[in-house]
Homo-oligomer: 165 residues x 2
Amino acid sequence: MNPGKPAKTSRADDSASRSKQSLRVWIRLLHNTRIIEKNVRSYLANEFGTTLPRFDALAALDRFPEGLTMGALSEHLLVSNGNVTGVIARLQDEGLVLRTASKQDRRAFHVKLTRKGKRAFQEMAKGHEAYVNRMLEAISASDLNKLNTLLTRLEKTVAQERSCS
Amino acid sequence: MNPGKPAKTSRADDSASRSKQSLRVWIRLLHNTRIIEKNVRSYLANEFGTTLPRFDALAALDRFPEGLTMGALSEHLLVSNGNVTGVIARLQDEGLVLRTASKQDRRAFHVKLTRKGKRAFQEMAKGHEAYVNRMLEAISASDLNKLNTLLTRLEKTVAQERSCS
DNA sequence: TCAAATTAGTTGAAGCCTAAAATATTGCCC
DNA sequence: GGGCAATATTTTAGGCTTCAACTAATTTGA
């Protein structure tokens, strides 16, 4: 039926379905992330009495033993400057990080883990990894590898167009 | 070298690397989602002066023309009851939703889109879909399909263990 | 029927988050 | 050196988010 035309799709259909497919992937990505994130937040709250933003901040600081400025920290965490102020203030109250004024630049601060902060993070990180692995237990290693590859690829293309509206 | 043993990995190594791989996938998932989500939030704010939570609520209501109770809405959106109260209050102030007391159950409310709300959502949804597609432009259709498959599979396994700590 | 348990929803306190304005300091350029 | 733009950070106002406590209505079950 309808010879001379593509059987079921025109070029316009293609671009519409492409757009639908992009949307589907984004919705799934968001949904998966929200479910896992919810679980991780509960885990951190129940097991260690802490929050995901604080855990993230500790993780970033753990990767830079020499310390980070507030600004550098906010870039690593993908959050605003003002946000970091609050999170670090609370971590300082808990004695997990140390905020010292920079000698070179009196506007800036260096934030570092305290010894207590290092110890606390090590323990949390171990539990966190085990918990995540338990959640993803049912996924095959092969699927995990594929996901890793595809998400890495996605990250590269998405990370670039940060500014486009 | 070292005959009689597996070349490079023991069983303990396997399980350690599996756990690391799970963690990597989760971190990538989270990172990708945060970057895209940031962009979507900016887009909705700049283009329509609205927020992602409000857009999500409108989207949920659009799928149920007969309306939803506050509780049903909170389940669809994966957020707490109290949260929905605030978001719907703001949407009501904007004239996009209508909240009517239920006849059958005087504790409950039915929330529906107003005509204005329907129109506003249609326009936002169109722009949103195009924007997301533009962001994922550089990903091949084949990768998109693979991602969709894998994320669907992931969603199924993760959605089950909602309660485990 | 009536008291107890459950369910629907709101409120309040606390934390996370952003954008924009304010502060303070630095660096540059004339 | 003095002024001015840029930079590092905090503050503020407003919205999102949760949990726990609360109110009100419904259901259950003796």
